[in-house]
């Protein structure tokens, strides 16, 4: 598999580390239901077949964290963007 790193260009998957669902949002820690929401965000992950927004880390490249839109059935990557926009 290859991932089009927005900084480095097309690279082999062996340069990247996988984290998981990019849709998980870290809850505000002082919210009343923070415990439940963090529990859900840490443990209750979807594992869809098909398009999935995922977090990948370009460990052996630019060290960028990427949001990768990937088809989990075909491994085709529709897009990859940096999670943090470059500093202005």
């Amino acid at each position: 598999m290859r991932i089009p790193c927005p900084f480095c260009g097309d690279r082999d998957v062996s340069e990247f580390a996988y984290l998981g669902d990019a849709g998980v949002v870290r809850p505000f820690p002082d919210a009343a239901d923070a415990g439940e929401r963090v529990f859900e965000s840490v443990y209750l992950r979807d594992n869809p077949r098909g398009r999935h927004a995922e977090l990948w880390y370009h460990a052996s490249g630019c060290r960028g964290w990427l949001r990768v839109d990937r088809d989990t059935a075909t491994h085709e990557v529709a897009s990859a963007v940096l999670t943090r926009a470059p500093s202005l």
């Binding site: 927005p6 900084f7 480095c8 260009g9 690279r11 082999d12 062996s14 340069e15 052996s60 490249g61 630019c62 060290r63 960028g64 940096l82 943090r84 470059p86 500093s87 202005l88």
Partner: protein, 199 residues
């Protein structure tokens, strides 16, 4: 007061030259060049650009490319980061950069962190291509291109300084393993290949 041998030790001491000579390949230890990681601060890119032009005459480019100046070059290593490399030996690069770029970039001295090699010659690209999982064809990796990648499981920074000239920065601790891998990739071009028995 103990004696201290302050002779600088290159990362490649005792490892170079490669067992050669090779056709169309020369590997040079560029030890002594000042190296520093430079990470731009938030909302400071403009200020950094201006400082680099006024202080060093370097126009900072974004992306995996070399921003070349007379005294220093900046190798694009990430969206917000560069490796500054002095043109020649310079032990004071980090201190100089830290003073001149204060407030717009965070700097870390890497002069000892990386070993710096020059890989030169008509076969340089062929030898490096054996090891590297990125396309080194001049159309894909022209003069001025840079990349952070892996070779034989060893992380490295690579940039092309001429048609047949590459610079490779590897973390110091990997120097021996990298030279071993480079030596293997260069073997087909070794002029006095020692016979090895088989069969």
């Amino acid at each position: 007061m103990p004696e201290l041998d302050t002779t600088p030790r290159s990362a490649f001491d005792g490892l170079l030259p490669l067992a050669g000579p090779h056709d169309g390949l020369e590997v040079i230890d560029r030890d002594g060049c000042g190296l520093a990681t430079l990470v731009v601060r938030r909302d400071a890119r403009k200020a950094l650009r201006a400082a680099l032009i006024s202080q060093y005459g370097v126009e900072l480019r974004d992306g995996p490319v070399v921003s070349r100046g007379a005294r220093i070059s900046l190798i694009g290593t990430g969206a917000d980061s560069w490796l500054a490399v002095s043109a020649g030996p310079n032990a004071g690069l980090y201190a100089d950069l830290a003073a001149r770029l204060a407030g717009c970039a965070s700097l870390s001295d890497q002069s000892d962190g990386y070993g710096l090699l020059g890989v030169r010659g008509a076969n340089a690209a062929t030898v490096l291509q054996r090891l590297l999982p990125i396309d080194l064809h001049p159309d894909a990796f022209p003069v001025g291109a840079a990349a952070a990648t892996l070779a034989a499981h060893i992380p490295l920074l690579l940039w092309r300084s001429g048609e047949a000239e590459f610079e490779v920065a590897v973390f110091r601790s990997y120097a021996g393993s990298f030279i071993h891998a480079l030596d293997g990739a260069a073997r087909p071009f070794r002029r006095s290949a020692a016979p090895t028995a088989r069969g």
